[in-house]
Assembly symmetry: C2
Homo-oligomer: 205 residues x 2
DNA sequence: CATTCAAGCTAACGGGTGTTAGTCTAGTAG
DNA sequence: CTACTAGACTAACACCCGTTAGCTTGAATG
């Protein structure tokens, strides 16, 4: 649940607690007094560290999203096999969801609580990530190793699978890595150009 | 976006507008004055139709969820082929998402805004639906027509794909039915017990 | 025509919200 | 030892929220 891993400073604790509360009760459902109480401080003291409630949201969302996106780039560099790239992409998404859900799952509710500039930056980052996935699907389609009826819709479907935060529990039977591997295998099998007999499809080229 | 399709009465319009606003801005992010304005009425007049803001949320969530769940039962009765049952289940989910997103997608934020009784009923309905999907997966596993490494996690993944509301646009290139069919084909292919060579899996029985 | 009542309205209340002003204190630099 | 400052605190402000009380109106009923 941590975001920037500065749990020793007060600023770090604020970000940590805020990320958790925003995730549980929503941005508007969390009051500065609750947040302060969670940090072990009075509400007014929060303003020694952040100029506004919205600024806290911005920090959490943007830091989380940047960390997520940079991590993708690092993770994918030097991997050239398309299947392995897809596998890593999926695992990374699931792991990010269980670490800092604010990264990949920006609800509309949070989006319109942001100022226009931050919102734009956030959307751009998200789009950049989706473009990576789109490109991957397009390449696999071009090389005819994957069956991709509609890139955009499939991209959204894959992202949808990876949003495990609403139901994931830390004490569950599977680790995030195991879940990610399972989904990766599932998706890769669905994508694979296989026995045409199996494709009793409802798509027409 | 409509919920109970009584758009002629004021009560119906309130439900209609509220469902849309709650979906866009969240329950707490929507004020009674905004809602009233959307209906074309003053805030106090809403209380001629509902005793409280929460009562409106309850109506929308429970009605939507009951309609969704009853629809599943109707849709699946008399279909006995497992693959076709799964297909219908997925299509129905996608269509429900584009019709009244409050049915299948109850966020935690909305859940803890409900009174305990309604929350319980809502969770029970959701669990009942998930049990249908679980059972379906279990049957397919038992009959050895599907490869199901972990029922619960796979169930959540399938549900995740179907949550199309955050990105679905009415003027998009595909209809909800087309999207549902695509996802159904995708999932059925991933589930199918196929060529073992393709299953370069990371699961160990 | 008189009565009733559903359903709109205005005005306001009590409480909670994000935020600010100003104060106090403990640790640090010179 | 003194001066300074970061960072906590108390008190309060201005505003917005859900909700209520009480009034008005216009259509339906007898």
């Amino acid at each position: 649940m941590k975001v920037a891993s500065h749990p020793q400073t007060t600023e770090g604790r604020i970000l940590e607690v805020a990320a958790e509360l925003f995730d549980e009760r929503g941005y508007r459902g969390t009051t500065m007094r609750e947040l302060a109480s969670g940090v072990g401080v009075k509400a007014a003291s929060l303003y020694n560290h952040f100029p506004s409630k919205q600024a806290i949201l911005v920090r959490i969302c943007l830091d989380g999203m940047r960390e997520f996106y940079d991590g993708v780039l690092v993770r994918l560099q030097e991997i050239h096999d398309l299947r392995e790239r897809m596998r890593q992409l999926i695992i990374w998404q699931v792991e990010a969801e269980t670490r800092s859900p604010y990264a990949t799952r920006i609800s509309d509710e949070q989006l319109d609580a942001l100022n226009p500039q931050s919102r734009r930056e956030l959307i751009d980052l998200r789009d950049s990530f989706e473009r990576i996935l789109d490109n991957l699907l397009n390449e696999g389609k071009a090389q005819e190793i994957w069956h991709v009826p509609h890139v955009r819709v499939l991209c959204q479907g894959i992202i949808g699978i990876c949003k495990v935060n609403p139901w994931y529990k830390t004490d569950g039977p599977l680790t995030p890595l195991q879940i990610g591997e399972m989904y990766a295998a599932f998706i890769l099998k669905a994508l694979a150009v296989g026995d045409p007999v199996l494709e009793q499809g409802s798509e027409r080229a």
